[in-house]
Each structure stands twice: as structure tokens, then as C-alpha cells.
Symmetry: C2
Subunit: 195 residues, 2 copies
Amino acid sequence: MAEDRIKPFTLDFDLVSGLCKSGRAKLTHRFVSNMAAQFNDSAAAEEIVRNGDKPIYDFYELDQIPETAGDLKFGTSIVYAGKVGDEYFMTQGHFHTILETGEVYYCLAGQGAMLMETPEGEVHLAEMKAGEAVYVPPRWAHRSINTGNETMVTFFVFRSDAGHDYGTIKQKGYRKLVVERDGKPVMIDNPKWAE
Amino acid sequence: MAEDRIKPFTLDFDLVSGLCKSGRAKLTHRFVSNMAAQFNDSAAAEEIVRNGDKPIYDFYELDQIPETAGDLKFGTSIVYAGKVGDEYFMTQGHFHTILETGEVYYCLAGQGAMLMETPEGEVHLAEMKAGEAVYVPPRWAHRSINTGNETMVTFFVFRSDAGHDYGTIKQKGYRKLVVERDGKPVMIDNPKWAE
């Protein structure tokens, strides 16, 4: 459909900070207050919020790209270093609404992990660091986790019509958590996970 | 189809050189001898080949990713600095076989341009430099051109089933060329272009 067409364009994303300094991409901020219920230690989350809140991550979206199966959306995700209790700062994570679509994350800075799971319960934790790309195949829910001391930045690309299903994760949580044990990230069962 | 499934994986691409140092992605080299006919000044191309040839660009491919509409392929493209006559080193360029699919190129190093055209004859030249992403919408043939003095590196992502139609470009060429005039890149009509 002609009305769905978009012309070629360029867009800046700083290769280290991930910031779109031109301001031409839409930035969304997520604070501890936006996802307190998604951390295992709700009391620790509430404490952070009471003390003035903290940013967990920022991401860019490109609303101007038509949501067709032939177009792609892209942007950067910027996850800050920190923890809620012993659980590392992380993105909310999502399935794609069109479940059979994948996503690519190319890590530009920092280090951490991509926690992935399928609806059938298969789980995969991929280590991420600057200069590594993670392939999230179709069907895998995915969440970025910053397990380091620096901001973790990724450049992501997905099919423009894929859609974000945040609800399933919000309701059920992930099967696993990534927490700090003896100074190192470890994946453990999520005690709150509901089948 | 279960047999088409791929598990999540990570793959390294150096953020400056674009090289996959682990060797886990398939690298293809293109030399002047591989595309002498595609430069306007064939005599200059033949001269380079006689003098031992020169690499124009390298790119990585991920054959392991299933070619479905829900999967994505990705990799880096590395275009060296140089010219054939007054025409800058460039990739062969392609339409996607599934024409209605786009592609994202994120420039990691160097500078240049993405030359794009539609089957209907619309032309667009997008400037590229490190930290800029170029969106190539569905239907646009695209070719990377290094107009600088350094190697130009891009990280690209496209729908895994898109396919590369190199034949159309090889036969007809692009409508435009990017050549050096007074030390600067200029887009001119391709005298050899055949409707």
C-alpha cells in the first residue's frame, strides 16, 4: 500500500552511549517505580522508590516506520548498572505479539546477559558484552540484564509488525531470575513464577 | 516447522574493524577482479587487476539461520577506501528477491554513502558515517560506497528469507554513480545505465 511507504532515512545513535543526540527518535524511560512488582524483592524496590527512585533503562522507538512484515524497526536500549536487592537491573522483557519473529541485539557497550524463554519453558541465558551480537530466534521472550558496573548499550532490530507482548511476562514473570551471589551473576528459579 | 528452529546464540563482530575474530561467521571477499564490469571506467579496473588486484569489500553471512519470514540475518560489511578511476570503491549492491523487505545498516566506522533506487527509478543517496543508521525501506536496491579515506564498516540486519537479487544490478547497473569531483563525492548519471 502506497500510504504505508516510508522513504530511506538516516538516524544517529551514539556508538558508545547509544543516545540519539538529534532527538529524532522517541525515548522512553523506565524507573524502578515503573516495574517494582517485577523484581523479586518488592521491599527493596519500594525502598528505592521512597528514596527518590532510580532509572533502570531507556530505549528508543521509531513510530514512523510502517508496521508491515517487510519493514524493520530499530533503536538502542540503555540499561543502567544497579540492583534491586540482589537482582540486577533489567528490562521488562517481552514476547513478540507475532510470536514467530526474532530479534537481533548488538552490544555496543558494557556487559550483561540476555535471558530468554519459550512459552514451552525452554530457558537460555546468553552472555552479552560489547562487540557481541545476540540472536533471539522466533518464539523466545527476552530481557536484557546489566550484570556489570557500566551502562550496557545494545542496538536492536526486529520486524516492524512484531509487536510487544509485555502482559504475559508482567503477569507470570520469567521462570528464572539473575541475581548476584558472591559478587557474580547466577541464574536461579523465580520463586514467584506462576505456571 | 521444528526442523527450521535455531537456538539463541551470540556472535562477535568487532565494533571498529567489523571482524568476526572467532571465525564463526562466513566471510566473503570481493576484489576489483570480481566486479570490474560494474565500474564505469573498465580500463582503470583492468589496470588494477593487472597490477595484482585489490580487495574492495568483505562481508559476513550467517548460513545457519533458517530462511523464514520470522528470522533475521545479520553481519558486517567492510568496504575499503579506494577508487576505480574516479569512482569510489563500493559493494555490488542488490535488490532483495522478496522485494517488499527492508534492511538496516548501522555504520560502525568510516564514512560514505548508501546509494538506493527503486525499480520505478526513484533514487536516494544517504550519507553514512560512524554512529548513523541508514534505513533501506522495502523495494529499494542498495549499495554501500566508501567515499572516505578509512575503511567503512556497517552492521546490517535483514529478514532472513529476503534473498539477494544481484542479477538485476549486474545487468543494468545503477542509474547513478558516485564519483570524485574536486576531491568530493558527487552523484552523476550512469552513462552505461540501460533502461
